[in-house]
């Protein structure tokens, strides 16, 4: 009786998993481009955003149709609504990847900053949060999702440290000012990636356990 609906759900799941894979790849490439000062990879990231935007539209459309035509309930309803929200977060994360790539192209026009700021550490932390949030979604693993949420504070802290390190550079090192602004923006983008990964985990917890933990609401 429900074969057609199950088929449509499966199709939705395949699309959101494909989008997850692409976004994870975009962020990985954007970070690689940044750390390795590779313009080719940065351009690749910028180009790949179109595919993500198309997938977002397709997924939204499919979710709306499933809601309107089948009036899903319970676990199915939670899957569809969570997918809509996760899709939105993924699209934003891809945009942040594009921003990082654009900042990278700017940074390539000037020599690297002499003072050591730990962008690689922060990039790794954000990328791992994204990866684990998507693993939590794919495997319906709310325990992992909780654990990822807790890591957001660490990324916020790293962001603050980078900001302070740049701020405390000598006036000489702070020139050109575009370079330090770009670095602060890159850190901000990485911090936002971690925020969206946290959102994804909150949706995974709702999907799996039916619990709302957003905005620190406790039972």
């Amino acid at each position: 009786m429900h074969r057609h609906f199950d088929e449509a759900l499966k199709n939705l799941k395949e699309k959101i998993l494909r989008m997850s894979g692409l976004v994870e790849e975009i962020i990985g490439t954007a970070i690689k481009a940044l750390l390795e000062r590779n313009s080719e990879l940065a351009y690749k990231v910028i180009k790949s955003d179109d595919a993500i935007n198309m997938l977002e539209i397709e997924i939204d459309d499919l979710c709306m149709k499933l809601l309107a035509l089948y009036q899903p309930t319970a676990g199915d309803l939670r899957f569809i609504t969570s997918t809509m929200k996760i899709c939105n977060d993924l699209e934003r994360i891809a945009d942040l990847g594009v921003n990082i790539a654009q900042r990278t192209l700017d940074l390539l026009k000037v020599p690297p900053l002499k003072v050591k700021i730990d962008i690689p550490k922060m990039a790794t932390a954000s990328r791992e949060m994204l990866k684990d949030s998507l693993n939590a979604f794919v495997n319906k693993d709310s325990k992992l999702a909780y654990e990822v949420c807790k890591r957001d504070d660490e990324v916020d802290k790293l962001n603050h440290e980078i900001f302070m390190a740049v701020f405390q550079c000598t006036p000489e090192d702070q020139k050109p000012v575009e370079r330090v602004i770009d670095l602060i923006l890159v850190a901000k983008n990485l911090e936002r990636i971690a925020d969206h990964s946290t959102n994804i985990c909150e949706d995974v917890i709702y999907l799996v356990d039916g619990k709302v933990i957003k905005h620190h609401i406790t039972d």
Partner: protein, 251 residues
């Protein structure tokens, strides 16, 4: 919210077959409670215990308690006429008396002598207005109720309950013979009626349960598997069997 009906360890047997297993349920006053579950799960049987309609079936044995207004209605000495005035019922198939529309409405007040003759006109009008039949039927009150459409007959059957001022209305698949627009209007009517009555509805139409009820109970093989607010049952049921049933995975 006050409790209108409460069952305590309710068991019901048809001969050797146990149709209800240890049901503990609390129905809130002035609310709509839906009972859902696959055919044969016991939901209609449970509904019929609330005005002791099962007494009419041979070989039925009931254990436990059903408390309405502090009294166990299963206790010996319960006045069934009073009980059934208090707990009215509407069935799947409309069953008007083969009398005029007016006589259908006035049947109970006349039998129970609850209304003066001078009030009859007002009672007929109010009852028919409550179920949105007045405008169509006000000039045909003498017409035989069996000549009405099925939809009108069902509305008349609900209207017929109201003059004896029941407290609880039992509805067993009340919309299954109606088209979607009539169904929606009956649902709207139920929302209006719940201000004055407590409504229990058995339905196969899950969207109907979701739309109209405040609380939902899911039954399976004679057991009440889960009972919770309708919002929580339809978004986040706690039992996997409830989830599987309402998402259409079985049943």
């Amino acid at each position: 919210m006050k409790t209108a009906v409460e069952t305590q360890d309710l068991n019901l047997f048809y001969g050797d077959f146990q149709a209800l297993k240890n049901i503990n349920l609390r129905v809130k006053e002035n609310s709509i409670t839906a009972l859902i579950g696959p055919s044969g799960c016991g939901k209609s049987t449970l509904l019929r215990t609330f005005n002791r309609m099962n007494d009419l079936i041979e070989g039925v044995r009931i254990e436990g308690r059903i408390v309405i207004e502090g009294e166990n209605i299963l206790a010996g000495g319960t006045d069934l006429v009073t009980l059934r005035k208090k707990v009215g019922m509407v069935f799947q198939r409309p069953n008007p008396f083969p009398l005029s529309i007016e006589e259908n409405i006035l049947f109970a007040p006349k039998i129970h002598k609850t209304a003066a003759k001078a009030d009859h006109e007002r009672i007929v009008e109010e009852s028919l207005k409550s179920v949105l039949l007045w405008d169509n039927l006000k000039d045909k009150l003498g017409k035989n109720a069996l000549n009405l459409t099925l939809e009108q007959q069902q509305r008349l059957c609900i209207a017929r309950l109201l003059p004896v001022k029941p407290e609880i209305l039992l509805m067993d698949e009340p919309c299954s013979a109606l088209d979607p627009i009539a169904t929606e209007r009956i649902e709207e009517l139920m929302r209006v009626l719940k201000e004055h009555y407590t409504i229990l509805i058995v339905t196969h139409n899950m969207q109907q349960a979701a739309r109209v009820s405040d609380d939902t109970g899911f039954m399976l093989l004679g057991e009440l598997i889960e009972f919770a607010s309708t919002g929580s049952i339809f978004t986040n049921p706690s039992d996997q069997r409830t989830n599987d049933y309402i998402t259409g995975r079985f049943g």
